[in-house]
């Protein structure tokens, strides 16, 4: 602070100062007479805090400032030589933590919740740094796999843009200061019974957090709790209430279903349980197998949806219908099946054949059918789905209804906003979430929030909401704090930290405990205390669930309290804590309730959670931003998705900017044409258009929340689309959507497959004889190979991002993606087949094929890429000079080049993220998939120590490990009993471009569809 005297023209009133000082009791420090006199000049000075001109420093650098800075940099550059680097002592562990061996990773079971629901994960930790997320093989929601969000959350942990300090009115403060405020607040709240105090949270499934919150609310009877989730499951709850009269949580048993009908349910793409559903679904798609005698039976999936999703992509039959028509479809289906008495089916010519076919198929598979409605569908559609399931006897077989996993809050966001508007709310505590950004536009949250006198926000980022809050508390990442959450089936999952909070972040439970008069208690103590109490007093009354259900009786007889806690933390979840299916009965008056159908209108606009940014919480995650969205292959943007016919009607092409208008609200966004989209419908993904989300998130895409209203959260009818003539460059990684008649993805119907199991080899021109004068190389030891089952692959992208995390793959940014320089080692090629309006969608994961006759190897002038004795096509980064000849000559185009220094070597926080077993590549070198050679070598070291061969299944590549559909098998081809050898023996096995005599080690299992012949004919 400057020591400049304050310029004051007004004479000081010394008498007044004397009286003021004399009236003060206790020590009071003053800097100057001006301060004591509280002259306006001094006040202005204080307000400014910093001397004039300093505000420029926080502004974007002006030209003048830039020149000054450059000059200063030059001047100061010489000074660095004068300073001595502070000594940094390296102290080895005198007593190392248990099982802590430098260079050897440890794995810890924990949980990473998204929207309250957790999939169990195992996190790899190198010397105390978490580096990679894997699924927890024992956890029912994961079974060893994860989705893209869990994979990418490790980057969020190290994100340099994360909020790093407690802030008060935008200035750095401390947790201790907040605790003081919290104590004062508590006094006030206790005195007025919590009047005007509101707590706004995201979805809470955590038993301990819920208990803490309930305890606090019990102390403050007039305080209220409001839960708001931008991607809410409200419609699911409303649907069960409509159908059964109570709020329930449906859980699907996809593996038990022969016929699955998805009414816009993206079963495998989003929502709780997606990973498990993918696994269960794929298990029923793996026809054939090593033994050809296996029953060639498959399940059948029908999907009715407005916008192609990955679930629609893998469906046997897909019907594109706008949301308004889906409700009609559901009605027609229910009526056809007689599921709801008194329901008349509206005539829907478009889908008539479909309704008949699906209904008869469902009838044929009573008790083994499943109708699932999407979370974004109306409560009516949900109710109809439940009614059909009940009528067909599927309840309890393929679907079970649990008590809700998430607890409904007493107050909804619109109610809270109304209270805030009327000034009834004096203190608002926001635990997580970013309501200022993500709340529907009609609530005017930004304005009503300003009417609250004290606003406290807990968040991982210093975001849009925290900008207008008095207090911002930086939230701990799930990998930094203790907690417990529940999975899609209710399994209680324990969240243990892998690392001390990097920036002293706090968990929500710690904030609540501070307000509950127990400041400074750590999340560990709070969570552990909760569980000990639960175990000790198994009969403790609890509105949530009884301790008995929580597995206490299975645990306690064998273990002490401490052991029980230890086991729970070690396993990552409490076994057998999943909810039990309830017996449900359909409401009698359902037919009457569902009688009225919604009116359709042209251009309904549907909002959906983004496959990458979700509701915006992952918008600052560069891995996710750069991940090509499963169907559209857009990166770094969202767009208004529409069908080719709609685009033709509106005279639009991909990349054109339109204005969406609805009830006075306007949003500009580029359009993207998606084959297979419903015609009268538009889709816009949430999570973009953030303005204070961090360096990655800011100004990417358009903010759908500016149109969304609380009454039309997911679907808005009558949206006006106005062409603006503007253009926006969309960074789409795959521009060409047709296979050009090439035999790249081979598929057949089940009938064709049974008739001709080796259909995939038909028309194959693979070079059989070696075509070489030299004798063939014999792979004596191991011979690694991979097989990818295209019948299982849903195209969910998990492999791409797992590979990125495992192999330290850099992010290149939108401008580089636009130039075609994305770095993903494994990409998902997506092709459309058939008609433009309803094409079949194919996905094909493509990574380095590790060809035995690799075209890349012969052309490298410096031998930087060579073949190993185990068949790997190896890349020696140090040797690479970067001629790019190998990439040119690679027919699969899987080689990736560092055109610039793409890796972020500057951000200190990202150093912790890197996998120490994989080189961080520099500029000017080629890179590509290595079959996770570091994992092979890790297994080799272990095997050699024990003087044995590497066992089958010991080496699991990152893409294989993460795959929710278990589509990828990897192992030793020299071992005829290995899983991959068996898979490759399948008659569906074929290689890509084998006619080039590349002899790829990665092969594919052809896709088999199981169409309903009734529909196929139509």
């Amino acid at each position: 602070m400057s020591s400049q005297p304050i310029q004051s023209n007004a004479p000081l009133d010394l008498d007044a100062i004397r009286t003021q000082l004399s009236s003060v009791q206790g020590p009071q420090f003053w800097r100057s007479l001006e301060e004591v006199a509280r002259t306006p000049e001094f006040q202005a000075y204080l307000d400014h805090e910093f001397t004039p001109g300093t505000s420029d420093w926080t502004d974007p650098v002006s030209r003048r400032r830039l020149v000054e800075l450059l000059g200063a940099t030059l001047g100061l550059a010489g000074l660095t030589a004068c300073t001595k680097q502070p000594p940094e002592a390296i102290v080895p562990y005198v007593k190392a933590p248990e099982e802590f061996i430098p260079g050897k990773p440890l794995y810890y079971a924990t949980a990473i919740p998204v929207s309250g629901y957790s999939d169990g994960v195992l996190v790899e930790s190198h010397m105390g740094r978490p580096t990679k997320v894997e699924g927890n093989p024992e956890h029912p929601a994961s079974l060893g796999s994860t989705d893209v969000f869990r994979q990418a959350s490790i980057l969020t942990l190290y994100d340099p843009d994360r909020s790093q300090a407690v802030a008060r009115e935008g200035r750095i403060s401390s947790w201790v200061h907040f605790l003081a405020t919290a104590a004062a607040l508590r006094e006030t709240l206790l005195s007025n019974r919590g009047a005007g105090f509101r707590i706004l949270t995201e979805t809470i499934t955590s038993p301990s957090l819920l208990a803490a919150l309930r305890a606090l609310l019990a102390e403050l009877p007039e305080a209220k709790w409001c839960q708001f989730e931008p991607v809410s499951r409200q419609n699911v709850h409303d649907g069960t209430r409509l159908a059964f009269g109570e709020v329930l949580h449906p859980v699907y048993h996809v593996d038990k279903a022969e016929v699955i009908v998805s009414l816009d349910a993206d079963l495998f793409g989003s929502g709780p349980g997606a990973v498990r559903y993918s696994r269960d679904f794929a298990a029923r798609r793996k026809v054939g197998g090593a033994s050809e005698s296996q029953p060639k039976a498959m399940n059948r999936l029908y999907v009715v949806e407005p916008c192609p999703s990955i679930t629609g992509g893998i469906a046997d039959h897909r019907l594109a219908l706008p949301v308004s028509e889906i409700e009609k479809f559901a009605r027609a289906l229910a009526a056809e099946l007689g599921a709801v008495s008194g329901l008349s089916a509206p005539a829907s010519s478009q889908a008539h054949a479909w309704v008949k076919a699906v209904a008869s198929d469902l009838l044929r598979h009573k008790g083994a059918g499943l109708v699932a409605a999407g979370a974004q569908q109306s409560a009516t559609v949900h109710a109809l789905a439940h009614a059909i399931n009940t009528a067909l006897g599927n309840n309890g077989a393929t679907v079970s209804y649990l008590d809700p996993i998430e607890t409904a809050s007493p107050q909804s966001l619109p109610e809270l906003a109304r209270e805030m508007e009327s000034g009834k709310v004096s203190t608002l505590l926001m635990l997580g979430g970013n309501p200022l950004y993500s709340s529907p536009a009609d609530l005017n949250f930004a304005e009503v929030l300003r009417k609250v006198k004290l606003r406290i926000h807990l968040g991982e980022y210093d975001d849009e909401t925290s900008a207008v809050c008095h207090w911002h508390i930086n939230e701990a990442h799930p990998l930094e704090s203790w907690g417990d959450t529940r999975a899609y089936d209710g399994t209680i999952t324990v969240q243990q930290p892998l690392i001390d909070p990097l920036y002293n972040g706090r968990a929500a439970i710690e904030v609540i405990s501070a307000l509950a008069g127990r400041p400074g208690v750590s999340s560990h103590d709070l969570v552990k205390e909760f569980w000990r109490a639960r175990y000790k007093d198994a009969s403790a009354p609890d509105s949530f669930r009884s301790a008995k259900d929580l597995g206490a009786d299975s645990v306690l007889p064998q273990f002490t309290l401490d052991e029980a806690w230890q086991k729970q933390v070690h396993d990552g979840f409490i076994p057998a804590s999943a909810g039990a299916g309830k017996r449900v009965t359909l409401a009698r008056d359902l037919g009457a309730v569902l009688a009225s159908a919604a009116a359709a209108s042209i251009f309904e606009l549907n909002f959906r959670p983004d496959p990458s940014a979700y509701d915006g919480r992952f918008a600052n995650n560069a891995w996710l931003q750069e991940l090509p969205r499963p169907i559209t292959k857009i990166t770094w943007d969202n767009a208004v998705l529409l069908s080719p016919a709609a685009a033709q009607k509106l005279n639009l092409v991909t990349g054109e900017v339109v204005e969406l208008r609805h009830s006075g609200r306007v949003l500009r966004a580029p359009v993207c044409i998606v084959p297979g989209h419903a015609d009268a419908s538009l889709t816009l993904h949430l999570g973009y258009g953030r303005w204070r989300g961090g360096r990655i998130a800011n100004n990417v895409g358009s903010n759908a929340n500016r149109l969304r209203t609380s009454s039309q959260l997911w679907s808005m009818s009558g949206v006006e689309v106005v062409k603006t003539g503007g253009k926006h460059l969309l960074a789409i990684t795959q521009e060409h959507n047709s296979m050009e008649g090439r035999n790249l993805i081979r598929s057949a119907t089940l009938a064709e497959y049974i008739k001709k199991p080796d259909f995939a080899q038909e028309g194959e021109h693979a070079v059989k004889n070696p075509l070489s004068l030299f004798p063939e190389y014999k792979y004596e030891g191991y011979s690694w190979g991979m097989a990818i089952d295209l019948n299982a692959c849903t195209g969910c992208n998990a492999c791409t991002i797992a590979c990125q995390a495992e192999n330290n793959i850099a992010v290149v940014g939108k401008s580089e993606v636009l130039r075609g320089r994305e770095m993903h080692w494994i990409r998902l090629d997506r092709y459309f087949e058939g008609s433009l309006d309803n094409p079949t969608i194919h996905h094909q994961p493509v990574a380095c094929m590790q060809c035995d006759n690799a075209p890349c190897e012969v052309v490298c002038p410096v031998a930087a890429t060579s073949h190993s004795s185990e068949g790997l096509n190896q890349m020696t980064y140090n040797r690479c000079v970067g001629t790019r000849y190998c990439a040119n000559n690679c027919p699969y185009k899987v080689r990736r080049f560092n055109f610039f220094l793409y890796g972020d070597w500057e951000s200190k926080s990202l150093h912790g993220l890197r996998n120490p077993d994989v080189t961080v590549r520099s500029r000017g070198v080629m890179e590509k998939c290595t079959y996770c050679v570091q994992r092979i070598n890790l297994a080799r070291i272990e095997a050699e120590k024990e003087d044995r061969r590497i066992a089958d299944g010991e080496v699991v590549s990152a893409c294989q490990a993460v795959c929710p559909a278990q589509a990828i098998s990897f192992g030793d081809l020299n071992d005829p009993k290995s899983r991959v050898s068996k898979v490759k023996a399948d008659s569906r096995n074929y290689g890509l471009l084998t006619d080039l005599n590349t002899r790829p080690r990665t092969t594919y299992l052809a896709r088999v569809r199981n169409p309903n012949l009734e529909l196929e004919k139509a």
Partner: protein, 466 residues
């Protein structure tokens, strides 16, 4: 051997008999030839246009230095290359420059061995053109690598890593082919210069020039023994250079032919590339010689006959190139291979179709006017056709390299290639380098071989006047 040599020297110039189109205009004697050519270097005032031309070239040369500096500091990403198009203007220009160089070697080596005397007046600057073109070409293989400071790893340099270049790679063949080519061309050019350097040394009046040319002349005294050795050396070098004319571009074509990309993987590439190189090279010689003979009033030495002959060579090689295009198209269809067929379809109707049509116009249609003597002897027409062919041969490399790469086997990884400003500035910069060197050459060295031109003078007129 000496007998043969004598015969060689006594051999009458074929051209002299063609009275209508002489290789040297009548009225010249030994001394007028010497005076005229050496004066350009020694006595004539440096013309104004030379300064302007050199100045502009020098400025453009600095653009090259800037572009390459930025490239080394920032990375190869400054260019428009990407996945799938890993090579763009860098390799296009490399092949283009190497191709241009070919005419010089062909004129100096093959035409020497074939005793085509009409080559005499153009071989010197054609060879200089070869050298400078190779210099420009040589920049690309080094700077197009991701880590140019390690490009020397492509040479067999003994090193502690114990790793040698991977000799199965056509790029390594390239390294040897180009470096041999550059060495032999430089030697050939320099050896051919020695007698003329001695002439300049003897005629120079300024001390500095005397020393400069004196050192370069390596003590040439014009003795019979010197001449005998000179002739042996130049014949040997011609013998060495002859296979290079064929081999260099053959090896360059292997860069593509050895790849498996449709549009690259073709057996026709070696002859087709060599013919293309000669085609492009002669076009460039014409582009350079037509303004030169006007500016320096050398119409007496570079006569219509020379231009006519060069036009014929262009026509002939142009037809071979056209045959190459035809065969590519035919083989794409005849192979029955879907990728090959698509490659051809993509050239014809794909996003770069206008490049292909322009190529066909430039390299196939435009040279057909050279069938007519009227056009071959019209300097303006000839110059225009030569420029069109130069552009056409650049387009041919564009079609072969990025257009083949941008759509290969898997449609999912197809992309587009557009050069960036750095691509163009580097290309412009190499043009600057080429012309700056050319201007220096014109100013400092005799652009036409004095002693060889003297042999062109008819014996009766060659006698010194009394």
């Amino acid at each position: 051997m000496p007998e043969e040599m004598d015969k060689e020297l006594e051999r009458p110039a074929v051209a002299i008999e063609d009275a209508e189109h002489p290789l040297i205009e009548p009225g010249h004697s030994y001394s007028t030839v010497t005076d005229h050519i050496s004066a350009i270097v020694l006595t004539r005032k440096t013309p104004r246009w030379w300064w302007i031309g050199f100045g502009i070239s020098f400025i453009v040369l600095n653009i090259l230095l800037f572009s390459l500096g930025a490239l080394v500091i920032k990375g190869i990403g400054l260019w428009g290359i990407n996945q799938p198009v890993g090579w763009g203007l860098d390799i296009i220009n490399f092949v283009w420059w190497i191709g241009i160089g070919h005419a010089g070697t062909l004129i100096s080596a093959i035409l020497l061995l074939l005793r085509q005397d009409w080559r005499t007046s153009i071989n010197r600057f054609a060879e200089a053109m070869t050298l400078f073109a190779v210099a420009c070409a040589g920049i690309y293989p080094i700077f197009h690598t991701g880590r140019p400071w390690l490009a020397y790893w492509m040479f067999p340099v003994p090193n502690t890593m114990g790793v040698w270049p991977q000799v199965r790679s056509p790029l390594i063949w390239d390294v040897f082919a180009i470096s041999t080519y550059a060495t032999v061309s430089a030697l050939f050019w320099y050896v051919g210069l020695i007698p003329d350097l001695a002439t300049l040394r003897d005629r120079a009046r300024v001390k500095g020039a005397k020393i400069f040319y004196g050192i370069l002349a390596m003590g040439w005294r014009g003795s019979a023994r010197h001449w005998a050795r000179y002739e042996t050396a130049s014949l040997l070098l011609a013998g060495l250079a002859t296979p290079l004319v064929i081999s260099v571009h053959t090896v360059v074509s292997f860069d593509f032919a050895a790849g498996i990309i449709p549009g690259w993987h073709a057996t026709i590439f070696p002859p087709y590339f060599v013919a293309g190189a000669i085609f492009a090279g002669f076009a460039m010689v014409l582009v350079l010689s037509i303004p030169l003979r006007a500016a320096y009033k050398l119409e007496d030495f570079i006569t219509m006959r020379h231009l006519d002959n060069m036009a014929k060579v262009m026509l002939a090689t142009g037809l071979i190139v056209a045959y190459g295009y035809m065969m590519e198209t035919f083989m794409a269809w005849y192979s029955g291979n879907e990728y090959e067929m698509y490659m051809m379809t993509n050239r014809l109707v794909g996003p770069y179709k206008y490049f292909y049509y322009a190529l066909l116009f430039c390299n196939v249609a435009a040279p057909q006017v050279l069938w007519f003597a009227k056009f071959r002897r019209n300097v303006r027409t000839l110059f225009t056709v030569a420029i069109i062919v130069s552009i056409g041969m650049w387009l041919e490399r564009f079609i072969i390299i990025p257009v083949s790469l941008h759509r290969d086997f898997l449609p999912a990884s197809w992309g587009m290639y557009w050069p960036t400003v750095f691509d163009w500035s580097t290309f412009a910069g190499t043009l600057g380098l080429f012309f700056a060197l050319m201007f220096l050459f014109l100013r400092v060295l005799p652009m036409i071989s004095i002693f060889e031109m003297r042999t062109m003078v008819p014996p009766a007129e060659g006698r010194p006047r009394k």
